[in-house]
């Protein structure tokens, strides 16, 4: 006698217990702490904060540990937590020109005021596994005279004076917020940028790469990449004046792109903009490429490539949405599958019937 499957609740509880065990691993090995994650897996923390849309190193570290190192799962944990937080208001725009610089490079100029500052980067490391290094504490690094004033002008502002590059657009009015209003198309650049910051690094990397290979080519130069600390300020309604409430680490990338000009505009350089929390340099650069690609409408260019297709890019950039929908295929679909089976059997039966008729 067949008995319908039961015990979903017990199975779920057991699965959660197993997950806990797997997360902990061998109990003879010391448990990793969230402080260690926060201090030593900093780039993972930075990515989780950026795509999770929440600047909180401790929460990001907790999420990474809970997610067993699965960063998209960690981003999801942060997003779900973020959405329950009360919203007190909006900070005033951060001023990246006043950044306390830790790294700042330009590929467009050999040198410029403030100079090239490599800072902490993988760029020139030889990718050789260092079995010993991880155990050895590094010697403290000489970072130059302590009184060096590390605020420095932005490279694109330096060439902007000559009129060779479009002015940074300053659309008046409040920027939109896609976490509060559903995204509608066509989307303005403020919402596109917000969507890209939250977007999946891998997806944007691939799209940015595709523009370099000719799918929406925009001849990019890395005008400037800077990473460091900026102050965050807020104007409480009851005070009526701005107060500094803290500082955050961010990475900013400004791409310089070729533009042939249009009927009303002479040839000039245009901009692509990327921004991330922490040091997500690959993300900021990819974002800048895709931002520029998405400006086809505004710059009156022909839309030919996937990276230029706003609905395509913005509708699929969010990895929390994407992973949910891809993975939902794990849920039972047997009712619909039954409907398809029934249809397919009927169509085949009829097709065979017709063939027989034809043969007779």
């Amino acid at each position: 006698m067949y008995v319908a499957v039961k015990g979903g609740e017990k199975a779920i509880d057991a699965a959660h217990r197993l997950l806990g065990e797997e997360r902990r691993g061998n109990p003879d090995i010391p448990e990793i702490t969230t402080t260690q994650i926060g201090e030593q897996l900093t780039l993972a923390v930075d990515r989780v904060m950026t795509e999770g849309s929440l600047y909180d190193r401790e929460l990001a570290a907790v999420a990474i540990k809970q997610a067993r190192g699965d960063l998209i799962e960690a981003i999801f944990l942060i997003r779900a937590s973020r959405t329950t937080l009360p919203r007190y208001g909006y900070s005033t725009p951060i001023e990246t020109s006043d950044m306390l610089i830790r790294r700042r490079i330009s590929a467009a100029f050999k040198d410029m005021p403030g100079g090239q500052i490599l800072g902490p980067t993988f760029d020139y490391t030889h990718r050789l596994l260092e079995f010993e290094a991880s155990e050895t504490p590094a010697a403290p690094v000489e970072t130059g005279p302590a009184d060096l004033d590390r605020t420095m002008p932005r490279v694109l502002d330096l060439i902007g004076a000559e009129g060779l590059i479009e002015a940074a657009s300053s659309t008046s009015g409040e920027p939109g917020d896609l976490t509060r209003e559903p995204l509608a198309f066509p989307a303005d650049r403020d919402l596109r940028l917000q969507s890209l910051v939250r977007g999946d690094e891998g997806f944007l990397l691939a799209l940015g790469y595709s523009t370099q290979r000719g799918y929406g080519r925009s001849h990019p130069f890395a005008g400037e990449i800077r990473y460091g600390e900026v102050a965050v300020s807020f104007t409480p309604e009851e005070l009526g004046f701005e107060i500094e409430i803290g500082a955050i680490d961010i990475t900013e990338c400004e791409m310089i792109n070729q533009f042939k000009g249009s009927a009303g505009v002479p040839p000039q350089f245009t901009r692509g903009y990327g921004l991330s929390f922490g040091q997500c340099e690959r993300k900021a650069m990819s974002m800048a490429l895709v931002d520029r690609a998405l400006r086809v409408r505004e710059l009156d260019e022909e839309q030919t490539a996937p990276a230029q297709d706003e609905e395509f890019v913005l509708s699929h950039a969010d990895n929390v949405q994407a992973t949910g929908f891809v993975e939902h295929l794990k849920l039972p679909h047997y009712v619909d599958f039954q409907a398809e089976l029934e249809l397919l059997r009927r169509l085949r039966r009829e097709a065979q019937g017709l063939d027989q008729e034809a043969a007779e």
Partner: protein, 278 residues
């Protein structure tokens, strides 16, 4: 009940936004109202739209039933039911007749619903035209102009090719003579239950950020052609457990020799029928 979160998890601001969308959805039957769907503590695609709708209409006095594929004991139904027990402390039931709110994925209960019940559907892709035209800017225009030609062409091509409309689930229908809508991936077997239903039907698509509704006693017409009228699935054998010949059946594979049986997908309805017979 877990404290630390608001009643039914969502904060009040979010609920207000969803409630406004729900009222517009009811006032414009079948029209997809955009709403600022929130990240929920469960993945997109796993019922976040339905959960947000349920959380926004739930009151402490409600009795909630959650089904997936017609069954109360499927894992995701269990998980969602548990979520509302933890965050809202509401009573739950597996009996359709005792529920004031029923959240469902992929099925409409076999028992007819009443005026004092609300059916909440989880919706993956709310736009019926999406697979014919992927662009939201275009499909929005088509709805505005009531221009549903591409849908009729698609259905007619099916007939030309297969002799049938080859859509077995998520079968498009017209609501109140105006909007073509997606009844969610329910088998077309369930489409007739939506028509003139006494209960309010609410549809939530979390990832796609849309809410829509079919008010009670509203005309829901499955699209068809005069010479190819809409028809539903039929089985050649009755439910192996309760003997029903009028319900939607699941196929169960019993061994690797092709032996199979058919049983009701609505587990509550099937159990009641078996009890009645005993």
């Amino acid at each position: 009940m877990t404290t630390g979160y608001n009643f039914a998890y969502l904060n009040e601001q979010t609920k207000r936004m969803i409630r406004r969308a729900l009222l517009k959805a009811v006032a414009i039957p079948g029209y997809q109202v955009p709403f600022a769907s929130r990240e929920m503590p469960m993945p997109y695609g796993w019922g976040t739209g339905g959960v947000q709708v349920t959380a926004s209409i739930l009151t402490p006095g409600d009795t909630l039933k959650v089904i997936d594929q017609g069954a109360d004991d499927t894992t995701n139904a269990v998980s969602i039911r548990k979520f509302f027990v933890r965050t809202a402390g509401v009573a739950t039931t597996e009996e359709t007749e005792k529920a004031s709110i029923i959240q469902t994925r992929h099925r409409v209960p076999e028992a007819s619903l009443r005026e004092d019940q609300i059916l909440v559907y989880q919706v993956p892709i709310p736009e019926p035209l999406r697979f014919l035209e992927p662009r939201e800017t275009e499909t929005r225009k088509m709805h505005a102009l009531e221009e549903y030609g591409i849908m009729h062409v698609k259905l007619y091509e099916d007939i030309a090719r297969h002799g049938h409309i080859a859509t077995a689930y998520a079968y498009p229908a017209k609501v109140n003579g105006r909007y073509v809508f997606d009844p969610s991936p329910i088998p077309k077997f369930d489409n007739p239950k939506l028509d003139d239903c006494a209960a309010l039907q609410l549809f939530g698509a979390g990832r796609e950020k849309r809410i829509y509704a079919v008010p009670p006693y509203t005309k829901v017409t499955s699209l068809d052609f005069e010479d190819h009228p809409f028809s539903v699935q039929k089985w050649e054998e009755p439910c192996a457990l309760c003997g029903s010949t009028t319900t939607y059946l699941d196929e169960i594979i019993l061994d690797d020799k092709g032996k199979r049986m058919f049983v009701c997908s609505d587990t509550d309805h099937c159990r009641k029928a078996q009890e009645k017979a005993a």
